[in-house]
Symmetry: C2
Subunit: 310 residues, 2 copies
């Protein structure tokens, strides 16, 4: 039996899975990324992980794929730059391939997660979908007609860096008002902290401080506390704005929400759907766009990386 190995490279850990063509996971494990010792050391760690994983699986390894943060030239498997990993023009595919003895495909980690969700998760019944990951930043990937769309030279799909508030907050990318400044889990946490500091009587103080509040805090108290509800409303309005921009451009069948905040489920998707139905260009009857939560959790990236071979 043929199987595929997918890698999801993060700043701290690398997650690996062995998977059949229909998405059944045969083995999974993780290792330290170790990128503080450079790209070569990282590749050594990953090769050891792969060797341990393939040792647990019977059958023929048909391909290895890797999702990696940063700007990736997927045609050559090169990391053009990845700030978090400290890599620049690093031939990741080639270096892994050398160690593993098989060809390795590489894409951006957010793109890999989108492909995973599209093939095996919340998007599996659709040909056109977008994954929007609400984490430290806002990442995402776009699936058009069943295929991953990475933009020209695989340098696009940077949906978090779409300005939605021209004079807004400064973003790490150098522009102001990017989608991710408002819709990331980090932005939600910042806003919660601010709301708590402005409202000493908020019920949020009964369980959290403005130092340990998270993206969950405001949702936890939204039914009983006005400040918490205001934070959630604020968050949902901005998130809806970015999602509708994407819907007007791509008109996908589904927009899938991933990352920690997506655990809120219908508390998030219901109001978002309601705003989208009202505001999407031309109404949402023709070419309906549905907002759902992603379903693969943190396996999406590794499974999608394996799916680069499918």
């Amino acid at each position: 039996m043929k199987y595929y190995l997918g890698l999801d490279i993060g700043g701290t850990f690398v997650k690996g899975v062995c998977m059949t063509a229909d998405g059944k996971i045969l083995a999974e494990d993780k290792c330290d990324t170790g990128c503080e010792n450079g790209g070569q050391a990282m590749c050594d760690n990953i090769a050891a992980l792969c060797s341990s994983l393939t040792g647990k699986v019977e059958g023929q390894l048909a391909g290895v794929g890797a999702g990696c943060p940063g700007m990736i030239q997927s045609a050559s498997g090169t990391v053009k730059f990845a700030g978090n990993l400290g890599l620049k023009n690093f031939p990741l595919g080639e270096e892994l391939s050398k160690r593993l003895g098989v060809p390795v495909k590489v894409t951006n980690d957010a793109n890999a997660a989108a492909l995973g969700e599209a093939k095996f998760g919340a998007g599996k019944n659709y040909k056109n979908s977008i994954l929007v990951t609400l984490g430290t930043g806002v990442g995402g990937g776009i699936i058009i007609d069943g295929k991953l769309f990475e933009g020209g030279c695989s340098a696009g799909a940077e949906i978090g860096h779409m300005v939605i508030e021209r004079h807004g907050d400064m973003c790490t990318c150098g522009r102001r008002g990017c989608f991710e400044r408002y819709s990331s889990a980090a932005a939600l946490t910042r806003r919660t902290k601010y709301a708590m500091e402005e409202d000493a009587g908020s019920a949020m103080w009964t369980k959290y401080t403005s130092q340990n509040c998270t993206g969950k805090t405001a949702f936890d108290f939204m039914d009983s506390d006005r400040s918490a509800k205001e934070v959630v409303d604020w968050y949902i309005k901005y998130l809806a704005c970015g999602l509708i921009n994407l819907a007007n451009i791509f008109r996908p069948e589904v927009i899938m929400l991933g990352g920690g905040v997506a655990a809120q489920g219908e508390r998030l998707t219901k109001p978002l759907q309601s705003i989208l139905d009202k505001e999407i260009f031309g109404g949402n009857d023709y070419a309906t766009v549905t907002v759902v939560t992603a379903s693969l959790g943190n396996s999406a990236g590794a499974m999608g990386a394996a799916a680069l071979w499918l």
Copy 2:
């Protein structure tokens, strides 16, 4: 010799061209749209135009294509709705095909123009391009890997309806702060009018009034008048914002600017390129995006419609 007939349906006129597969125009003409008398009457007018055009050309008509404003279901050739033409669920392709005796393909007019520019105009040497038309609104079309990308159910690519200023001006689409509220020729004219009314001493008053100023006025005086220069700077900053959003998502090789304002040429493209080079995600060295003006003028739509068969 085979040839193709392309139609560009506007609110007032329909432009038609007969064209070879390599974009040589064999005949062109126009007729009144006449949509005030309904879709059937409009199709009668168009059929007469086609008959007159094909009468002037030797060879075999290999296909007819039409670009039509509004939301188009291109798979069936149906106009889902087109406010300007007063059409709703109108089977345009079928009705034209009945009259002409050949199959007719239909797409949105902005998409047709993008395909025209991509095949025969400013985008002909590139596989990935975006046309942004700066007219009454902001229209546009997206070419991915040489093919027109219309979005799911051909209902996407509404780039003018991407919010770039969350709390901005009210748009006709029902949202606030859409790209087209800032970057259309109409927006430029509005801003010029406002600037003139705020500055009674502006040199713009020597040739224009706040009633007859156009999208050209501020550019005409930008070198000699501070208010005019401010209008141009304002316009270019917003336009750059929307273009960079598109560049970060699609990372095309070229962004082509069409419509009346594009006649400003380098006065527009030079500062836009300079902002884009600075602000595009990850810098503009890898996967370089270049801003150019479109080159086919008002033939782009009809030529692109014909190119639906190529």
